[in-house]
């Protein structure tokens, strides 16, 4: 059921999966690896929440049920506001007699959460030549790692050529980190001198992609807190430099959000979006015990969909986001 890379990326005007019927036979086995890993990683999440829900929801729908449900969602970092909305909705449906018993409640809850997660266009269109993907986010959320892994998937799974733009010219050794990723992915790295203007690095990376007919240019940027006005202005400048080189770019602007982030994630998404028009989230570090519920609040309040998730350190641990699976992981199997 989990979505595959070919379902998320639009190649040649249609989801790549449509033309994917003639996949080599080896794909099946390769696919099982990451899929199992994802399930494995989300299992703990499921168990944690399921115990809450099964212990309570299978009884009658009492005042206590709603309190426990509220508690479970708060624990998942869904946030008070979105939690209140979900609980109110379910409570209303129960009062109207649409929900009887815990099982019905559980499945309706899953549905509701998936609906909230499902917002906007959650695919990534890579048909433009070159397609420019800009990565932004707070320090330590996994931008450079995501850039590297994304490059690897695009080259390996979709057979696209990739240029990586080392736009993090601030953090010590960030360029070296991306350079190693570029080698692994077989992507070309474009970098500037240390302390170079990130806008000019982005500009140059896209120029290289255009000159050499590269399919995708991924632009990494330095981590910054959304409250640092000067750094946010710098990020806007990077975006403008990209647009200057290619008017319709960036085609995709992905914000990396750490799944352990609490309610501040909403403010991050809001301010980054104001600055560079975020088109999707990469929810990273979902392999821990954190449930990443803040992504629901972001989808609910700002209409920004999650497009990719990070479930581990390995290359294949960057995965397409599947709302239904995510919702199930939050509540039950």
């Amino acid at each position: 059921m989990a979505r595959e890379w070919r379902d998320v990326f639009v190649v040649d005007g249609a989801p790549a999966g449509v033309s994917g019927s003639d996949e080599p036979t080896g794909t099946e086995e390769k696919r099982m690896g990451p899929f199992r890993r994802l399930r494995e990683n989300l299992r703990r999440t499921r168990q944690a929440l399921r115990s809450e829900i099964q212990a309570t929801l299978f009884e009658d729908l009492s005042e206590q049920t709603w309190e426990r449900l509220e508690e479970a969602l708060i624990y998942a970092d869904v946030g008070a506001r979105t939690t209140a909305r979900v609980v109110a909705e379910l409570e209303q449906e129960a009062t109207a007699g649409k929900l009887t018993g815990g099982e019905a409640l559980t499945s309706r809850l899953t549905e509701l959460l998936a609906d909230i997660a499902r917002t906007g266009d959650d695919r990534i269109d890579v048909t433009a030549r070159p397609t420019v993907i800009l990565l932004a986010g707070v320090n330590g959320t996994g931008k450079t790692t995501t850039a590297g892994k994304l490059a690897w998937h695009l080259t390996t799974e979709l057979g696209l050529s990739v240029v990586l733009g080392a736009g993090d010219t601030f953090r010590a050794a960030a360029v070296e980190q991306l350079e190693l990723w570029a080698q692994r992915a077989g992507a070309r790295l474009v970098k500037g001198p240390p302390g170079a203007d990130p806008g000019s690095v982005a500009y140059e990376a896209i120029a290289v992609a255009r000159r050499e007919g590269t399919d995708v240019a991924i632009i990494d940027t330095a981590g910054r807190l959304h409250t640092q006005d000067e750094l946010m202005a710098e990020l806007e400048k990077v975006r403008r430099a990209i647009t200057k080189q290619l008017p319709e770019a960036p085609h995709e602007t992905l914000l990396t959000v750490d799944a352990t982030t609490g309610q501040n994630g909403l403010q991050q998404a809001r301010l980054f979006s104001e600055a560079v028009k975020v088109t999707g989230l990469v929810l990273t570090k979902l392999d821990g015990t954190a449930k990443g519920g803040i992504a629901l609040a972001i989808a609910q309040e700002l209409g920004i969909p999650v497009k990719l998730i990070g479930v581990g350190e390995q290359l294949e641990d960057l995965r397409p986001f599947d709302p239904a699976e995510f919702a199930r992981a939050l509540v039950a199997s």
Partner: protein, 443 residues
Amino acid sequence: MFDSLADKLQATLADVRGRGTLTEQDVTAAMREVRLALLEADVNFKVVKSFTEAVKTRALGADVIGQLNPGQQVVKIVADELTELMGGSGRELAFSPRPPTVVVMAGLQGSGKTTAAAKLARYLREQHGSSVALAACDVYRPAAVEQLVKVGAQAGADVYEQGTGEDPVKIAAWARDRATAEGKDVLIIDTSGRLHIDQELMAELANIKKVTSPHDILLVVDAMTGQDAVAVAEEFAEVVQFDGVVLTKLDGDARGGAALSVKAITGKPILFASTGEKLDQFERFHPDRMAQRILGMGDVMTLIEKAQDAYDEDQAAELERKLRKQQFGLDDFLEQLRQVRRLGPLQSLLGMIPGLGNELRGAKVDEREFDRVQAIILSMTPEERRHPELIKGSRRLRIARGSGTNVQAVKQLIKQFEQMRKVMRQVAQGRMPDLGALMRQSR
């Protein structure tokens, strides 16, 4: 979301004033608001529950007297309790009588260990005059060793590294021997980020502890962490019994409830706060400020300290004299602006002011506006700066051209200045102007 807790509580407790004491009903209602505020601040659910229970007991029967209204009274009780809980038996780093003192930094990926390690190195060098070495034991993240080499050099510390080919436990043991041999006061061991549920890597951390017998193990925690902070802290506490916490990324606008959760669950003190990208943005942790921050009360103490640093007392006295004599001109206005800007980005300053914060926190402040104002004032003659009323048609045009703005902007600035001068005169005469009205006007 940004309504301050005090305001909400005041609404909840509106009728208490007359009665003079808080009843059980009042307190229960108040605690509902407190609970919500703490949850919004990412304090762990369990911690919120036990905390509000404790506060409830204390608030019951509290006298509502004196300067505080009932809402403020409850907030004060909550803030005091929070401060106490987070401060506890605060402790410094444990320095070994026989150097080197060994400090291990541990935490999740991306929490800021490497930066915090370098900052701590610099802090110890500056505050204690220690000679410090950093050991690069993060062999997993690409280029982590290079990063430590670079920031270590900036911090004035030696960096002990063996590339990424060696086992981190062996590097740690080797670094310890070398620090002893070279007579370093402190050795800070930077470890790779690891998930608390990754048994292999947690075992590795335990082994690093075993071979280096550190005096302090510091858990690095991102201030933006949500409910998961507890699971992380519990696991690290169990495996390596860390001694204290470094709270990072406090320069953002996260309320930082994770700090409270970690302290409440593990009992380990928070020792340091890391507040920016520069190596000197690192300080002792202040529980009182953190309590106010978690409650969304604005970081008044920080603002006051910042203002003290940036404020020149002689200039202030001179300004007061001018105000009284009504000689306050555009030159003085410009100086005021510069002083305010020295405090930091206005946006972050606004957030620190309680009360004002509510109304203005969402407001976008365009810092470039200041540059324009400055350009306009600097394009005036000294005479014009003292007497802006001189500025009419041709002078206005000249100033607009000289500053690269337009006549409209010049006009507007002078108008605003006149308004401000009026307000300042009121202040100087001891009347308090309506700040709210002023803010609305200027927006």
